[in-house]
Symmetry: C3
Subunit: 296 residues, 3 copies
């Protein structure tokens, strides 16, 4: 398993996967492909019982989905959109990771935004340093998180707090994320690795039968939420197609794509606010609004 | 939009609505009518994207539903009970506000009890100062929150904490409310307005298409909970009709109605305890109990 | 009501039930029988409106299900497994307690593990001192909590935190349990009794009609989760039958049964880790794994 965007390291039954994709750790189409490939291998991997997902980049856990690749995916008919009718590629990726027989643990110490946070929300457990910054900036660009993030956040932390996170578009600290239930807990930077290592080793010591039985009970308990989840995914995908079709939204994203560098990404919410794109987008949207609503 | 019980103020796409109904800010039938009227206008108002609900009264955000008006509504066949068969008027009001296309934000700095808290629980997001006092006193009067509050609290914070809040009948601080998930978070009195203003402005900057899409996903995700919500509403309404028909409960409420002044309302739980009504009510209820249960 | 494993004390309409079963407060078959008996009497007891569940043992609230009795129940065809096809005896017990007309309150100041914690999770409200230790050690022994605990924890605190608690198998403090939502809140040892007494007295002052109506609304609201709960119970039971049939798991439990004393139980997770059983169990499970999965 040799990947361009993922650094792998094994410790017994634990596989450490570090995102390692340039100065921003952008979630590119290449990374998505490699994450699909790795998941496919893990399904049949009886030697690995725990996967710890971290970052090789001290600042960016995952910046967000690469906007250049977003345009490419939107326009290239050869890029597969999804394995299913109503699910887009990031929804399918996160659902596949969520369904792995291994236990996945996210270890966040840095910046995690957009599609990166949508991926983190699909890990089985997740931990963050208090200084980490978690953000779903999509709504401030005229669209919405469509990699399962709108749906999963609503299910995980309830509609009141999920609306605040998604509609504010601001950075939330790891401390805030723990209080809202987006991560299991916040842990100081000099403790988080030891805590996660200890947890990973404990989980790795469990028998496959025991972990599989817990998974099976959880699946049965949440079976009734599966319809809700896929209905949410469908609504995300439909909205994305409509909203990304709005010229002002596309123009805003194209401007933002030109600013995909460390300087502008460190405080992405401020960069977006400075662009002033959403306001322009809004006026355009106002006209198209009725179509959107009547279609939903 | 000129109202007797609501003070309105506009800032761009943000509408600030302050409850302003006498020294107690009682939720009267007049206020309910005006809140229906305002909601009806907001449904078609494309200029307003955020509604911030606060109070013009420094002590009382909303004291509770006016007991005099409760008697009037119970006895006057001309007061409409509900728009639907199984839903009472406050359940219908809160459901209508919950379904508005605007994003609603509650800003609580003071006392919020009974029907007032039931209204607050139906806002899309809500924030409170640590010193705020939130209380559902109904059970200590021999009945239960029937404006959707029993149902919404169970769905929002889970049955264990909801039972504690409803059955204790005591004041919970804003700090406790945040820990239990009744509000998004607690914020110091000198920070809460700035926080909510900043959030409101961020949300107001979102395009209608983006906010509408998030609403649509949330609706799809929670569609399966709608049946649960309306089943809960029906059980609230049925129980209210039965319990308010008990002479000892009526007598207790009549005594309490005579104490609807600032002095007795500041520590309402103590006022209710001093009346000793529930004990009397219990003995009466004991006899009627079997009928209630067999009917449920 | 004279019991061997439960100490009862009455204060008006409040019944205090203290677990009192030897130096470890093990949940034995005798205790399960007495808890069934007590619940059966409470169903028809109109004088009791609140039940506070505590411990007569300063260290152990409830250690866990007695392993000797577990073997006895597994091998003795005369021990009734369950009242229902798909539910085992502890699931039936906790479900019966959950459905009582009284309000039940758990007061935890000490160690509560395994089946004891599964019982605590079925109380209507629960409180713990910060120093209390809550643990589900089953997965570290090659099986899983099967008294409703895997299912209830997933429903109560969400899958991410429930997985951490169940798969780590470590002790969680009362403070951590409150942050994760396993208990209503943590309260200092010198305050918890006063807090619970005050709450119990408030609840005892409520009319039966009022409490019954709240119960009825909650039941209607969570009706849609009942299928999920029983599906989870069924999966727990099936997995237990399979996993407890594995020789290495049985051998591990037999070793552990020989260590059921205060010295080894105080830090049970360490005792289990020292045994090294799960690793052996895992290898055995690996071979049986396919059968388990294909059967689920």
């Amino acid at each position: 398993m040799n990947y361009k965007t993922l650094a792998l390291r094994r410790d017994g039954r634990i596989l450490y996967v570090d995102f390692d994709n340039g100065p921003l750790n952008l979630m590119t189409i290449d990374m998505v492909g490699e994450l699909f490939d790795l998941a496919g291998k893990l399904v049949f991997d009886r030697e690995t019982s725990v996967v710890v997902l971290g970052s090789a980049n001290p600042e960016f856990f995952l910046a967000h989905f690469d906007l250049e690749d977003l345009f490419r995916a939107m326009n290239d008919p050869d890029v597969p959109q999804s394995k299913y009718d109503d699910i887009n590629v990031v929804q399918a990726l996160t659902t596949m990771w969520e369904a792995l027989p291994q236990v996945t643990i996210g270890l966040l110490d840095g910046i995690c935004r957009g599609g990166g946070l949508e991926f983190l929300l699909a890990t089985h457990m997740r931990f963050a340093t208090p200084e980490s910054r978690l953000c779903l900036p999509e709504a401030s660009g005229g669209f919405l998180p469509t990699g399962g993030g709108t749906t999963r956040l609503a299910l995980q932390i309830g509609p009141a707090r999920a609306r605040e996170v998604i509609l504010s578009g601001r950075d939330f600290s790891g401390e805030e994320a723990a209080a809202y239930g987006m991560v299991n807990r916040a842990l100081p930077a000099d403790e988080i690795c030891a805590y996660v290592d200890d947890l990973a080793q404990r989980v790795a010591a469990r028998s496959a039968g025991s972990v599989g039985a817990v998974n099976d009970v959880f699946t049965k308990v949440y079976n009734s939420a599966v319809d809700a989840q896929f209905a949410g995914f469908g609504a995300e995908s439909n909205a994305m197609r409509t909203l990304l079709g709005i010229p002002a939204v596309q123009e805003h994203l194209r401007q933002l794509a030109g600013l995909q560098d460390v300087e502008h990404e460190l405080d992405l919410p401020a960069t977006i606010a400075a662009l002033g794109g959403p306001t322009a987008a809004r006026q355009d949207t106002a006209r198209q609004d009725q179509d959107t609503r009547s279609g939903s």
